[in-house]
């Protein structure tokens, strides 16, 4: 699908927003009803640093270099053309407002702004930015981290050196705490949309709201927030894309966050031949035209800062997710998990048995991704 107009693009990361909490965000929910909504967008890595580098490169973490917390400076900047870089080359003024210089690749921005999470007023700051850009053809990336700010104070720091049990026994309390972040988030979404309408930009802008990863509320022992495991509460996220003059559509096929970059390029009518041949993401446009009607298989990789087997230097937890099945390989303890996500959506009942042909096939797929991305594990030797 190629649009004729020169639309602006706003990409907004709602950091850590769980998909199952959208119900509590009325403005975001309304926007979904008038947008193209990808309800099963799987993040290829469930923590911001790796997730956003993958989106901005269209490549899995181990392909783009940022494949561990400690590899935050290892983005292959000399080899990869980033999304803003390509848009900039095609006449866009590119701007971002981010929590830290290391959270996305630094290439391709005319203007990079960094906020102080402790003092920032996101609504004021981001609506001001939109006002400032109103007369340009622009790409704007906004990072909304209000839930992250609370999570740092109320979970990460609070439980850092204490007995974890209390956290995992308090799921109801954790849920309530998490839900208390949502009204502010929804007001923020509303303010952004109203600003675009006030400036007559709403119908001239492709607006994307998405989550970079979900957030644990204590479902699985060992993960207090995200980045440790690859269970659905952190990897199964969403993207809402409001495209002017395109009717709303819910797309329930499984997609990957690395597909966003080529999709944006495609939507604004740029030639897809400009994309890097090594790019692993593929445009999602065929889902809009219904030329594609299959779930895309996803590979996910992570390595936690904390948890039962922390691995900040190297990813050590991997999975392959098909439409309804998931195979997980934990490289440090060298354990396997297999879940049927239809019967067991919360991934409680590990059915791994390598004598089952279906599991064997998925194991082969996982090895394929490990090899394709040159990820060395204990699995193969």
């Amino acid at each position: 699908m190629k649009l004729k107009e020169d639309y602006n693009i706003i990409l907004i990361t709602l950091d850590g927003l769980r998909k199952d909490k959208i119900e509590l965000c009325p403005t975001l929910k309304s926007l979904i009803d008038e947008s193209v909504y990808f309800s099963k967008m799987i993040t290829v890595s469930p923590y911001t640093l790796a997730s956003l580098h993958a989106i901005f490169s269209g490549m899995y973490p181990s392909k783009n270099g940022v494949n561990a917390y400690y590899n935050m400076f290892k983005f292959k900047k000399n080899e990869i053309v980033t999304l803003p870089e390509l848009l900039q080359k095609n006449g866009y003024y590119t701007c971002c407002d981010i929590i830290s210089d290391i959270i996305i690749p630094s290439k391709g921005f005319d203007e990079r702004n960094i906020f102080d999470e402790k003092t920032v007023d996101f609504t004021k700051r981001h609506t001001n930015l939109i006002n400032k850009l109103a007369k340009k053809k622009f790409f704007l990336f906004l990072h909304y981290t209000e839930p992250h700010k609370h999570l740092v104070d109320e979970v990460i720091q609070k439980y850092k050196n204490k007995n974890d049990d209390k956290y995992y026994k308090s799921i109801k309390e954790n849920n309530t705490r998490y839900e208390s972040y949502l009204p502010a988030l929804d007001r923020y979404v509303s303010a952004i949309l109203n600003t675009l309408k006030d400036l007559s930009l709403f119908n001239k802008t492709i607006i994307i709201f998405h989550a970079d990863h979900g957030t644990s509320v204590g479902e699985k022992m060992g993960e207090k927030f995200y980045g440790v495991f690859v269970y659905d509460y952190t990897i199964n996220v969403f993207s809402v894309i409001k495209i002017p003059n395109v009717p709303p559509k819910h797309i329930d096929y499984q997609c990957r966050t690395i597909d966003l970059y080529p999709t944006i390029v495609d939507l604004v009518g740029m030639d897809l031949k400009q994309l890097d041949k090594k790019m692993q993401g593929k445009t999602l446009s065929p889902f809009l035209s219904e030329k594609e009607k299959n779930d895309r298989e996803v590979f996910v990789e992570t390595g936690g800062l904390y948890g039962p087997w922390p691995s900040p230097e190297k990813h050590n937890v991997f999975c392959v997710r098909t439409k309804n099945k998931k195979l997980i390989y934990n490289d440090t303890p060298q354990t396997w998990e297999f879940y049927n996500l239809i019967n067991d959506p919360f991934e409680h009942d590990n059915k791994f048995d390598e004598n089952i042909p279906e599991i064997l096939e998925m194991k082969k797929r996982l090895v394929y991704y490990l090899k394709e991305n040159k990820i060395h594990t204990n699995l193969i030797h």
Partner: protein, 74 residues
């Protein structure tokens, strides 16, 4: 001794024991290797390049720690 197969590939010899061990390992289809050469390439890449990639200077380590602290993770 090195034998030059073409511009992209060159041949060397390895011990018969290693050869047999690799041959045995790649029999397992789960490993996804179609040849001994592919296996050797894979393992050598790990030895040669992964360690190189993962080397972090003390200065860089400090920067990483500072960033993680700023983000509230440590």
């Amino acid at each position: 001794m090195i034998n030059y197969v073409d511009d992209q590939r060159k041949s060397i010899t390895i011990s018969a024991n290693l050869f047999d061990e690799i041959k045995n390992r790649i029999k397992n289809p789960i490993n996804g290797f179609s040849s001994i050469e592919e296996y050797v390439d894979y393992v050598l890449e790990e030895v040669l390049f992964e360690k190189e990639d993962s080397s972090v200077s003390d200065e860089e380590k400090q920067k990483i720690q500072d960033e993680l602290k700023k983000l509230g993770y440590i």
